[in-house]
């Protein structure tokens, strides 16, 4: 988040007789001033809800089953830890990309979006190995089903946001380039924080829910 986004809504609207002239208002704003932010927040609430429910299901099934993981070994930690490290680091270029968007600096935006996209690709690759390191199949039992769906849900968010990043990077090359596209880029970065933050509990559940 940048300072600029925290500037309170100053009101350049003025009275003209009994009318309120808003011609001078900006045609877009960042953070909670933009509708995109609210729509994004709604989507995060929905997906966050789904994650939360899935975690509840995980512990519900864990609670009623006498062996967890049933039969198999818990997932190997290696790729999970790599993913955790990479995704945490990826928050940094994401922050710069968001700043650049808020400053409406196309060059810097592109530059940082490239870095974000690179991180995204790496993460998708690591995610692939994570699935292979779960040591269980989705149809091996309730445990397998739960971890596969849990990891799958987060992968879905990961992949969609990476795809968005690519598309937005491409859009920065189109012209004319409307200022409100910077808001979209900033919001996409905001969504990436959501991907990072939701990974923390999901990582903990998948890798240590079967070890505790």
């Amino acid at each position: 988040m940048t300072r600029r986004e925290f500037i309170p809504a100053s009101i350049p609207a003025v009275r003209r007789g009994d009318a309120l002239d808003v011609a001078g208002l900006p045609s877009y704003g960042f953070a909670h001033r933009s509708l995109m932010w609210w729509g994004n927040a709604g989507m995060m609430a929905i997906e966050g809800g789904a994650f939360g429910f899935m975690i509840v299901i995980y512990f519900y099934l864990r609670g009623i089953s006498n062996a967890w993981p049933d039969g198999g070994r818990p997932p190997d930690l290696l790729f999970g830890n790599i993913n955790l490290a990479v995704i945490l680091v990826s928050a940094v270029p994401n922050l710069f990309a968001q700043r650049a968007a808020a400053d409406r600096n196309t060059r810097r935006v592109r530059h940082w979006l490239y870095v974000c996209a690179a991180f995204g690709v790496v993460l998708c690759a690591v995610r692939w190995f994570e699935f292979t390191a779960l040591n269980v199949r989705w149809d091996d039992g309730a445990y397998g089903s739960t971890v596969w769906v849990l990891l799958g849900l987060h992968t879905f968010n990961l992949v969609t946001d990476v795809a968005d990043t690519f598309v937005l990077t491409a859009v920065t090359y189109t012209s004319p380039f409307e200022g409100k596209r910077f808001v979209d880029i900033a919001e996409n970065c905001g969504y990436w924080y959501f991907v990072v933050l939701t990974w923390l509990p999901i990582y903990a559940v998948i890798y240590f829910g079967a070890r505790l």
Partner: protein
């Protein structure tokens, strides 16, 4: 009252600043801005900008909130009719013992389709349709926040509904009940593709509900007219807001759960398979955690209708406005703590059950509070005895019975006797018909003039009301007694010795009366559309903003966005600032305001109509249908929606140029 004038300083500095900002950037030609009232050149330009062009493509591309909202309402009413016919079929199958009108296979599909259609394809969409149509008019803006997403939601809803009925007509109708309990709906006992179709339909309708909910929430929070602080928001808006927020928290659950069942059926996962560590009861928890709030998605908007109709027809502001707002919010919260009272007969821990009993009793209090506030408003008002008010009074009578039987059902021990009997059927129909359908008709009679510019015949309306009132009670009251006499739900026939015949026959007779009243309504609508009396802007003397524009409203809703300084702007003298000016008349532009006190914040360019929402809905359909038929389709099908959504997002050069010329940097 003076909040408006106080909020907008009129100092020279800001005026000059504003003027130089408002200079166009490109090509010096002076831009046409709104502000002048109807009849001006700007007004004509606004109409042109907001009117959709004729033609199929633009029909599929339309994203105006009035168009989409109306489409939602009409489609939902069609599904209402279809589901009603199914209900009638069931009542006539049960009218006599050992009846052979339909067999068990078809009967199971019938009651599953009836419940699914009523809950997923009628009740929630029709309420959201009303919200889509009315919210922008009531908050004084020109469209909802995300019109294209809402258009996409509508197409998903229609296609999902058509797929469900297509499946039903080809003998693939879901047959495991609208609650689809596993294992009956699971991979082993849910034979064929029937339950897959149900899961898909749920995914569709919940996706629709969620998209619309996000749209309405954002619209109400960010697009209110300047001066419409939270305290000045009419109750209908509060109801819509609470409902939308509830939907955002409850619907992901059922979407997720339906997909888990689908995974069990399609991929061989074991969420609900006890032999492999799953649990059949888990589904009931997941389903009812959504399923109980679902009732309130239907009920709370209806309360909004009531709170909109009563003040107008009692000629006074609602008594206890703040109390009602608080009880709406309280109801929203409490409704998430009730789900286990659908599961008292299962072996969930006893202590938990008592807790849920207490919760179920507690939620009666906010509802009672609203009820008393309404009665107080009526008692202290001067009544206009028109059809909408009549339906509201019918609502009191029927909902009260439903609510009281609801309290009985909330008690664990009593529920163990009447659970899954016809007593529950009676209860839920009293609640949903009394709590949703009567207010719905009140709303239709109340807002029909605004939507169509014609008034529905009041005489026919009163006939319809009395037929419906008698019919509903005759159809559903006997079911209470049948429940006590031990008649279980969802049986396709019964033996004469059980002695359930007579009351079932009465119920079937009542159903016929309901059908008559519905036909009368259809006739009334058809007749009034062509030769109903013309409606002025404010035929009922209502006080909220939608009555300040002509009936039907202009395509742009308001030639100049209003500035409000009270809860019933049409009933109170205006503030010293009455309207907004300076928004573009050449592109679809609106005004965003701050969340709490509704100060002007930014100008907002609404997206122009596009075909992409429709294409995207087709792509999603392709994916979901494909996923029913093959596992690979579930993975690869995702590519189609991806393509569609990115094509949707990709900027359109002409549009960008136009918008940039209106752009002002923050």
């Amino acid at each position: 009252m003076t909040a408006a004038s106080g909020a907008f300083p009129s100092d020279a500095g800001s005026r000059t600043r504003a003027r130089e900002r408002s200079q166009p950037k490109k090509g010096g030609r002076q831009r046409l801005r709104d502000g002048a009232g109807a009849g001006s050149r700007a007004a004509a330009e606004l109409e042109r900008t907001w009117t959709d062009k004729p033609g199929v493509i633009s029909f599929l591309s339309a994203n105006g909130h009035k168009t989409i909202g109306l489409r939602f309402i009409v489609t939902a009413l069609c599904f209402f009719g279809a589901a009603g016919v199914m209900g009638g079929l069931m009542r006539h199958q049960l009218a006599t013992a050992n009846s052979h009108l339909v067999g068990p296979d078809f009967y199971n599909q019938l009651f599953t389709m009836h419940g699914t259609t009523m809950m997923f394809l009628f009740a929630v969409p029709v309420m959201q349709g009303f919200a889509l149509y009315l919210v922008p008019l009531m908050i004084g803006t020109r469209n909802t926040a995300f019109p294209r997403m809402t258009a996409c939601a509508y197409w998903l809803y229609v296609i999902g509904g058509l797929l469900l009925f297509g499946a039903f007509l080809s003998n693939t109708g879901p047959d495991a009940g609208w609650f689809a309990y596993v294992p009956l709906a699971g991979p082993q006992y849910g034979i064929g593709k029937r339950v897959d179709v149900w899961n898909m339909l749920v995914t569709y309708s919940e996706a629709t509900g969620l998209m619309v909910a996000v749209d309405i929430t954002t619209t109400i929070l960010k697009l209110r007219a300047p001066g419409m602080t939270l305290r000045h928001m009419p109750l209908f808006l509060w109801a819509s807001l609470v409902t939308s927020v509830m939907i955002i928290f409850a619907m992901p659950m059922v979407m997720l759960a339906a997909n888990l069942v689908q995974f069990d059926r399609m991929l061989g996962t074991h969420f609900f398979n006890p032999a492999e560590g799953g649990d059949a009861l888990l589904w009931q928890h997941l389903f009812w955690f959504f399923g109980h709030p679902e009732v309130y998605f239907i009920f709370i908007p209806a309360l909004g209708f009531i709170s909109a109709v009563i003040p107008t027809f009692a000629r006074r502001p609602m008594f206890g406005h703040d109390a009602i707002v608080l009880s709406l919010i309280a109801t929203g919260f409490l409704s998430f703590g009730l789900w286990v009272h659908h599961m008292f007969a299962t072996n969930v821990p006893e202590l938990g059950k008592s807790f849920f009993t207490a919760m179920s009793f507690m939620i009666a209090i906010p509802t009672a509070l609203q009820l008393f506030c309404w009665i107080a408003t009526i008692a202290s008002g001067r009544l206009v005895m028109k059809t909408p008010l009549l339906f509201v009074l019918g609502f009191f009578f029927i909902l009260l019975i439903g609510g009281l039987t609801g309290i009985m059902l909330g008690s664990v021990p009593l529920d163990l006797q009447v659970h899954d009997t016809y007593f529950v059927v009676a209860h839920l129909h009293y609640v949903l018909i009394g709590g949703a359908v009567f207010p719905l008709f009140a709303a239709i009679f109340y807002w029909f003039p605004k939507v169509t510019g014609r008034v529905l015949s009041d005489r026919l309306g009163k006939w319809q009301f009395w037929l419906f009132f008698i019919g509903v009670n005759l159809t559903f009251f006997p079911l209470h007694i049948l429940g006590l006499a031990g008649m279980p739900r969802r049986i396709y026939t019964y033996a004469p010795e059980t002695g359930w015949g007579f009351l079932s026959f009465l119920s079937a007779a009542g159903q016929v009366i309901n059908d008559l009243s519905m036909l009368l309504f259809a006739f009334n609508v058809a007749r009034s559309l062509f030769k109903g009396e013309r409606a002025p802007a404010d035929p009922w003397g209502g006080g909220t903003l939608e009555w300040s524009v002509s009936s039907p409203p202009p395509a742009c809703n308001f030639f100049a966005l209003p500035v409000v300084s009270s809860r019933e702007p049409l009933w109170t003298p205006p503030g010293n600032v009455t309207h907004v000016s300076g928004l573009s008349a050449e592109i679809r532009e609106g005004l965003t305001t701050t969340v709490i006190d509704a100060l002007p914040d930014t100008r907002y360019a609404y997206p122009a109509p596009e075909i992409w929402p429709f294409v995207a809905s087709l792509a999603v359909t392709a994916w979901l249908v494909w996923s029913i038929w093959s596992v690979r389709g579930f993975a690869w099908g995702l590519i189609l929606p991806a393509i569609a959504f990115f094509a949707w997002y990709w900027p359109d050069k002409k549009e960008s140029i136009e918008e940039i010329s209106w752009e002002t940097e923050p």
